[in-house]
Symmetry: C2
Subunit: 189 residues, 2 copies
DNA sequence: GACAAAGTAGGACAGTCGTCCTACATCATG
DNA sequence: CATGATGTAGGACGACTGTCCTACTTTGTC
């Protein structure tokens, strides 16, 4: 995109580097090398590293919102849309094997750092939770929609963590299949 | 323990601090403050920070092995023993809510750091995987014992990650109950 | 073309990190 | 008591961190 500002480039690079190497392990120098600007000049665009983190979280929130909108357009039924969520594990399989889930690993890291942005990062989970909850409600599971949402979220988090540790494609495929069957089993006929 | 050496004290303190604040975010000064020794003196006991990490991983391996031996003594049936594994989520609920799973968060961090000790840390997962696999085999599920082991491991990892993010006791209880029901459902009658 | 505004470069800064070194204390054994 | 081994204290080191500052270049507007 030629219309992208330097600020956008910084946020994009930080987004990727925070995912690949973690927030703390990513330095200004690392980002500067990617964006090709001088290290000291970040402070024209951001007052602190934490402000970059805020921007990255907001970008991720926006990205995920857009993704969900796509799912709503493409998936006619709630099952289809929930299926789209499950399929992330396959679509992003390679990245997840290497770096884990972008959301889960970020919230874990910030929890250990006792970082101020914890609540904001958790908003990413809340976004998926609320969206899934809505889909399960539309599916007819009004009574336990949130439970089901949390259950599915937990399942996919667990698969991401183990896929990252074991680098196992077959495992991901197996678990995705089981989640599909589970989805069928909770869908009223 | 009065019989504990300084080295043991260092490893214990590092074990706890690595869990609470992460490996990278824990400095020699942090450990020194807990153990009450001078910072520069670590190198009499360890040649590098990575060597402390090795020692911590080995300690965790030994601790978990001991835990499993206890489970084998206390649990008469394979179901009982697998149940003991599931119950970690309740027994260690408070710590998990604060800091996540000690194993999952460590392997995630080391993956992002691209650290040499990744393989060793993954040994912790392999330990549980093999143990669970054995229990499911004893349960009579010889054909898919490893699949079931990985599935249960993933489930507990997911619960730990979300419990850490959402600080939700009720969620843990719900998921543990579901895992119990799942365990019954895979147990041949 | 003048000039303020927007953006950038590059280095200074104080602090912290892991590492290493040397001097000192403790202690068992002769 | 003497002596070597074991362990400890405390600071020096170079590298790197996030932050901040000043000088410079580019850009848009009158």
């Amino acid at each position: 995109m030629s219309s992208m500002t330097t600020r956008d480039h910084i946020v994009d690079a930080a987004d990727l580097l925070f995912y690949q190497h973690g927030f703390e392990h990513t330095s200004f120098s690392d980002i500067a090398d990617v964006v090709n600007i001088s290290r000291g000049n970040f402070y024209y665009h951001f007052k602190s590293k934490d402000e970059i983190l805020d921007a990255v979280i907001n970008k991720r929130l926006a990205d995920r919102r857009m993704m969900m909108e796509q799912w709503e357009i493409q998936g006619k039924t709630p099952q289809d849309r929930i299926q789209s969520f499950i399929n992330i594990l396959v679509v992003n399989g390679d990245k997840i094997k290497r770096y884990g889930c972008p959301i889960g690993t970020l919230t874990s890291e910030l929890a250990k750092l006792n970082h101020n942005a914890q609540a904001e990062a958790n908003g990413l989970f809340m976004l998926f939770r609320a969206w899934l909850c809505r889909q399960f409600t539309l599916l007819g599971r009004t009574a336990d929609a949130d439970e089901l949402a949390m259950h599915l979220l937990a399942r996919s988090q667990g698969v991401a963590t183990l896929a990252n540790a074991f680098q196992d494609d077959k495992f991901i495929a197996q678990e995705v299949k089981m989640m599909c069957n589970w989805l069928k089993s909770v869908t009223p006929s």
